[in-house]
């Protein structure tokens, strides 16, 4: 039986809803974001963008822009090429990416030139004056057009095809054989549409080259400052010790602030050339049209089963749209990320998954938008597939899931697609969700409503995530193993400073990191200052994305603290005038075994570390740990949505939504709940509102917040939350991570609920987003068939 947070033994610091230490500065408007930073003599960069999705660049005339008073420089791809700075490496190293369009523009809004000027307004006016002559070319708007290879997008590649890669995992022959022999079989094409994280603070950079010291300071909206420092060094050739990356307060990232973007490079080049700071902060349209998108997976999902509802095989074949460059932020060995989690929470005897990726005339990306590398796509595919199978079997979708859950005694569970799930109790988590929501009563209500033609739906999602990249033997970015790090310094008075290689963007690390260290050392979390985002002071880490901070850096923090405890034990033995073997850490202090009341606190030990260290020992009390986790973690949950659909208008009202999450040991329940609220709201947006769509000419149709909708408090449903706890057996504190679970787990609950509501009309599937128009059209078409 899974436990709940309330069942856990009383802790010193973990499991407590401590208020966020970072909030006083944010709610007082005292956060310090990139655009708040103003340096003397600073210039501004504006970019010129291609209006065409595919066009040959015949000429670029800078003269009018350069003649505008205040314009200091105009930079083109040709200029960068001459300086050997035209191409950026992509994170997994299999492709390269243009900084500025050179020869051809490959997607609409691609950066073509940069104008540097004394004010933001003059830079924008200057960008309008750059005259670019284009020869429009036919665009490739879909991956299905691209795979025909009638137009080859990338002249720069030796391989004259738009096909980027084929990736597969599992036993294809066995899976297909089992599918052929299955009594019941479903197949559905399911789209996880192109969407965008759209953080409220867009991306930006302020590059400051000091020609006197030869040192480049780069302030940037970065989720991974150390990786960016290394990337800057690799691209520019500047030695890494001469680069200082500072990521100030970041206003949301969701994966969007992991890649390196052309604006960063052009601003840096301009600062290096001109010798003064150059700032670039993108507009909302630039953010939506050029920076890392997410998803865009067209998935053919096939499931076989017995008549009794026991699954026999899974096959998923995916066509992926990667845009003009293969800039997907996936680890080198996993070009399709963790898509192998597509078997979900179910015990499939055999499975096979494959992904074929193609270049198209769209912005590059494929970032992990609040998910751990393609996990949202995989989770959506299996959870929709299971619902469609339940419909075919005429079986309750919860009952089908229960018949196929991986049982708690099967953990650690080796999946047919190669992962080893760490822990979970899906049955208990699901039962808790059913009890809270009153599932049986809702089904009865639904049956009554159907008699009068009302469209009420109940959708479930019993998902399993995979996060915490990761084990260095499997995962890397730019070849760098995906460990993370922590450094703890305890001051003589028992307060301290905690630094990590991560960079929060709203996750609350300044609070939760302090709680982890305080728990390990028996100190006051309020007296532990957490600092991230400065590469001159923080230990090297891979950053915050893909729900990796708690699984990886969280482990590093606990283990660094335990190193301090080890040293503290020696000091405590010295203070207690006892042998180290006679001292034990218990009840958050060092105790002399067998002598009740004879103990010293960590505060006393800290003071002694500087004033009275043991003879022949090193003074001070600090430790560093670089943690390479042995496995990934597998958060999971059972989500239930209840919706009412208006037959006349297609409007969907989300009446209730319950999320029961198992993210292992909870560090701060209030922060976890906040994370879940935010992720559910983003999942709701994906399900009902958001898509980066293109017309047949390759025009991006969702370039601002009037066309790409962000839910406000008016649209957002009320969220109900609960939790269970199955600690991760390999994580130092048993935590699994939670930031992405609600985004990964919720879209299919909403869609399953709407499809359940529309089931009496014979509607099986509608691709997201389920806008009123789409739902209304589906209802109208279904009713036309009947009448």
């Amino acid at each position: 039986m899974a436990t709940t947070t309330d069942d856990l033994p009383a802790r010193h610091s973990l499991g407590k809803s401590m208020k966020r230490k970072e909030d006083p500065r944010f709610i007082r408007g005292k956060g310090r974001y990139l655009d708040d930073i103003v340096l003397p003599h600073m210039l501004y960069l504006a970019l010129v963008h291609s209006p065409y999705p595919h066009a040959r660049i015949k000429s670029i005339d800078k003269s009018k822009a350069l003649a505008l008073p205040g314009v200091k420089a105009v930079i083109t791809g040709e200029d960068l090429d001459a300086a050997k700075l035209e191409w950026l490496p992509t994170f997994h190293g299999y492709d390269k990416q243009m900084v500025l369009a050179f020869g051809k523009a490959l997607y609409q809004y691609q950066e073509v030139a940069g104008v540097v000027a004394t004010s933001r307004e003059i830079a924008s006016d200057g960008a309008e004056l750059v005259e670019v002559e284009y020869e429009p070319l036919d665009p490739l708007v879909t991956p299905f057009q691209a795979r025909e290879d009638k137009i080859i997008l990338r002249d720069d590649r030796e391989s004259k095809t738009n096909h980027i890669y084929h990736w597969e995992v599992g036993d294809k022959a066995k899976a297909e054989g089992e599918l052929d022999g299955s009594a019941v079989r479903i197949k559905e094409r399911i789209l996880s549409p192109r969407c965008h994280p759209a953080p409220l603070e867009p991306c930006g950079v302020l590059a400051d080259m000091n020609k006197a010291t030869g040192r480049l300071t780069v302030y940037m909206t970065s989720q991974a400052p150390h990786v960016h420092r290394t990337a800057f060094s690799l691209v520019t050739g500047i030695p890494e010790d001469k680069i200082h990356v500072i990521s100030p307060d970041v206003g949301g990232g969701f994966g969007n602030k992991v890649p390196v973007y052309p604006g960063y490079v052009v601003a840096t080049v301009a600062s290096v050339i001109i010798g003064v700071p150059v700032k670039w902060v993108e507009s909302r349209t630039e953010n939506l049209t050029t920076t890392g998108f997410a998803r865009d997976y067209h998935m053919d999902v096939e499931i076989g089963a017995t008549k009794e509802g026991k699954v026999t095989a899974l096959k998923v074949s995916t066509v992926a749209d990667h845009g003009a460059f293969d800039a997907a932020a996936d680890p080198r060995k996993y070009p399709a990320g963790m898509f192998g989690i597509v078997t979900g929470s179910y015990d499939f005897p055999t499975a096979f998954a494959e992904v074929d990726a193609y270049f198209t005339n769209k912005a590059p990306g494929g970032i992990a938008y609040r998910c751990s590398f393609r996990v949202t796509e995989a989770s959506f595919a299996i959870e929709r597939g299971m619902d469609i199978l339940a419909r075919k079997l005429d079986m309750d979708p919860v009952e089908l899931r229960r018949r196929n859950f991986i049982k708690k005694e099967q953990f650690p569970y080796p999946s047919p697609l190669g992962f080893v799930y760490d822990s979970g109790d899906y049955e208990a988590t699901t039962q808790k969700a059913l009890d809270i929501i009153g599932y049986d009563e809702l089904r009865k209500e639904q049956a009554e409503k159907r008699k009068s033609g009302e469209l009420m739906g109940i959708g479930v999602s019993t998902f399993t995530e995979i996060v915490g990249a990761g084990p260095g033997k499997h995962f890397d970015i730019l070849g760098i193993k995906m460990f993370d790090s922590a450094e703890i310094r305890i001051h003589p008075t028992g307060s301290g400073i905690v630094r990590a290689g991560t960079r929060h963007q709203g996750q609350g690390h300044e609070t939760t990191w302090a709680q982890i260290v305080a728990e390990e050392l028996g100190l006051d979390p309020q007296e532990l200052l957490v600092e991230e985002g400065d590469t001159d002071t923080a230990p090297y880490g891979l950053g915050t994305y893909a729900s990796r901070s708690t699984p990886v850096a969280g482990g590093a923090l606990a283990l660094a603290a335990r190193r301090i405890r080890e040293k503290g034990k020696k000091i405590a033995a010295h203070l207690l005038e006892a042998s180290e073997n006679d001292v034990e850490w218990k009840d958050y202090k060092f105790n002399l075994k067998g002598v009740p009341g004879k103990s010293v606190t960590m505060k006393e030990v800290a003071f002694a570390a500087y004033t009275n260290p043991p003879p022949d020992s090193e003074p001070g009390l600090e430790a560093t740990y670089y943690y390479d986790p042995p496995n990934l973690t597998f958060p999971n949950g059972s989500y239930i949505a209840v919706v009412d659909v208006d037959r006349e208008t297609g409007a969907v009202i989300v009446r209730r939504f319950l999320a029961v999450d198992d993210c292992g040991v909870v560090i701060n329940p209030m922060i976890v709940e906040g994370q879940i609220h935010g992720g559910l709201t983003e999942g709701f947006a994906m399900a009902f509102m958001q898509e980066i769509a293109f017309d047949e000419s390759g025009n991006n149709l969702n370039t601002n917040f009037t066309e790409y909708l962000v839910p406000t408090a008016l649209e957002t449903p009320h969220w109900e939350t609960a939790n269970t706890v199955t600690p991760s057996p390999h994580h130092p504190i048993g935590a699994k991570g939670v930031g992405e679970s609600p985004n990964v787990g919720s879209p299919q609950a909403f869609v399953n609920a709407v499809m359940d509501a529309l089931a009496p009309l014979g509607i099986t599937h509608i691709d997201m987003p389920l806008t009123r128009e789409k739902v209304w059209r589906a209802i109208r078409d279904a009713e036309a068939k009947v009448s």
């Binding site: 065409y52 047949e696 000419s697 025009n699 370039t703």
Partner: protein
């Protein structure tokens, strides 16, 4: 984003008068709504800077407009290329003139436009409405000019 329009206008002037009018870049330019600046480049071409306000796309667009009259004096093609604020618009329009009587000419016209960039984001219905308004105002101005009024 591709849009198509067609229509018929009845103009209170003789076919010869209408033909002479639409062959004159200066006269055509004076009938375009929201024109800020025009520059006649030759007998059948001119540049125009116009104010545009379509949803969030607001500012100046510059266009090159080329008139291509048919030798028969009854058909005119007009090509408009240009844009601004990162948008590109390519428009081709054609008009056939039919004399209804000595003082009335019927003009049968059609146009197709392709749009790229932010202006295409605004959406077909908004753009279509806006474009129709511009077309209607242009013809209204032509009628006013040919019936003795000022555009």
């Amino acid at each position: 984003m591709n849009l198509e329009w067609n229509g018929q206008e009845t103009i209170p002037a003789s076919k010869a008068t209408v033909w002479e009018f639409i062959n004159d870049p200066a006269k055509i330019a004076s009938c375009l709504p929201e024109v800020r600046e025009t520059k006649i480049s030759d007998a059948h071409a001119f540049d125009a800077t116009v104010g545009v306000a379509v949803g969030p796309v607001r500012g100046k667009f510059t266009f090159k407009i080329v008139l291509e009259p048919d030798a028969g004096g009854s058909h005119m093609d007009m090509k408009i290329n240009g844009g601004g604020l990162g948008s590109v618009i390519d428009l081709v329009a054609g008009a056939d003139l039919v004399a209804q009587d000595d003082t009335t000419t019927v003009l049968n016209w059609k146009g197709t436009a392709s749009m790229r960039g932010p202006v295409a984001t605004v959406g077909g219905r908004v753009l279509d409405t806006q474009a129709r308004r511009v077309i209607e105002m242009t013809f209204e101005n032509v009628k006013k000019r040919l019936s003795g009024g000022s555009a």
